[in-house]
Amino acid sequence: MLGSGVIQGLLVTARNALGSLRGDPGRHVTVEYPEKRAEIPAAFRSFPFLVTDGTGADDGLRCVACKMCESECPAQCLYVVMDRDEKGKPAKRPKVFDLDISVCMGCGICTEVCPFDSIKMDKVYEIAGRDRFHGFVLKKEQLAKTNSYYHQIRPEEAAEVDARLAEEKRLAEEKAKAAAAKAAAAAAAKAAGSQSAA
């Protein structure tokens, strides 16, 4: 009391000011942004992008336009339309895949619900525009990024996904092979049966 508390406070601030001037790591905490950057943790996420195994949006997108992300997106910022082939049958690729990043809240639920590992969270955070309404709706051409980019930003996760996809592919192939073998065997048996009947 009687001013001692204020003096005590003055000593604390003096200690902080001197520590900050000396560059004491606990008291000199500002990261001066454009020159230095804070380290981004591996889990950091900003906006989604589409993984492509080929080169671009029309070649090798993993997305099959199942609309799972669209239906679970909390902000409803995704718009997906499935493409159709020449005969008018649904082709398993998106005709339209729009993401409004001015609405997107970066929650990452789309990546969680995606059954095909085709949508992943990006790490870009320096996005700006001069216009409030245009340029923030990203088309699939802008969203498509290669698998190597994915490896670059999230090496561990991407390796895991690749391993899983390879495993799934192997299983599917084995299954297909087995099914083909079975079908061939069945056909052979059928042929044999018909022969014997004859």
């Binding site: 001013g3 604390v12 943790p41 799972m68 909390p74 970066g106 639920i109």
Partner: protein, 381 residues
Amino acid sequence: MNTVADLFSENTGFREGDLLELSMGPHHPSTHGVFRMNVTLDGERVVRLKPVFGYLHRNHEKIAEGNSYLAAMPYTDRLDYLAGMTNNWAYAHAVEKLCGVEVPVRAEYLRVILAELTRIQNHACLCGFLVQDLGASGTPLMYAFREREKVLDLFEAISGSRMMGNFQRFGGCREDAKPEWLAAVAKLVAEFPSFLDEFEELLAGNEIILSRTQGIGVMKADQAVNAGVTGPVLRSTGVAHDLRKVDRYGVYSRFEFSVPVGAHGDTYDRYMVRLLECRESLKILAQALKDIPDGPVLDPKAKQKGLRPKAGEAYGRIEGPKGEIGFYLISDGGPNPYRFRIRPPSLINLTLLEDICLGQTLADAVAVLGSIDIVLGEVDR
């Protein structure tokens, strides 16, 4: 004939023109967002105070009723954006009750760790804001934010986002904590008391703080209980009500900690109770870090997308940093909640604002508002 002026002077004892009506907010530096207080002043003294809110209404409850259960999770981060992790937990808790999902023990420990980290960063922030409202030129706030950044770094490392974690899932947590992360938490727990000591040294004995906060904005215990006030604001009045002790949800019954309780219910008590709670939270964190078991953090069978709980209702509540945060859900068996209702601690603690501000000066009203600790995202939803 009774004119409005006559009625006014009859009711208040003031003549017309004696009083000054001041609309503080929604754009005001210290109403913590877009909150508005219509204050009637007699000189500097508050004669009437009408809180007005709703400027930040975002229709959260209705949006959640139109979305799937999972899609409501990121919205809960944005309720009280200082305490996203506890909001997540409260909502996950409600859905788990509704569906009868069990949570793995490691996930319960992880939730406790995240909730207590949230509590210390929220309280650190609040103490900084409060002293800022008392007129400090940013110094305590900056110190508090310096420490808060460290907690947010931890949140970012585990959930990918500093404030909008979207981390809890129905039946556990989204990601597991790596050993390095737990070591980083242990480091923070070891370092945080030195910040609390310094903060107390800076402010606790300061004569200006004492004279600005002691005996100001006194809330009585019965008043607080009748209004449904919870959290540190209730405990500052002398009622030892803490859901961590009352409900013993999660694994809180495994930890040794105590609940700091004030006796006066004034601004100073509300401030000190929070600082003391930080120390208790550190105790819980130390125990949780020591005891955290191995195992999964999310039951792989627990359904997240396309969840359709059986028809029924559930109310899940936990002790958030600001008080009881609860979610009331009614399911009609569909993919969306039939009714989604939030019990926001900020809003309910705010209801006593006028009662405790009357007779205080304008400057005190600002400090009292600061000491209640509101976040407008939660008040207006």
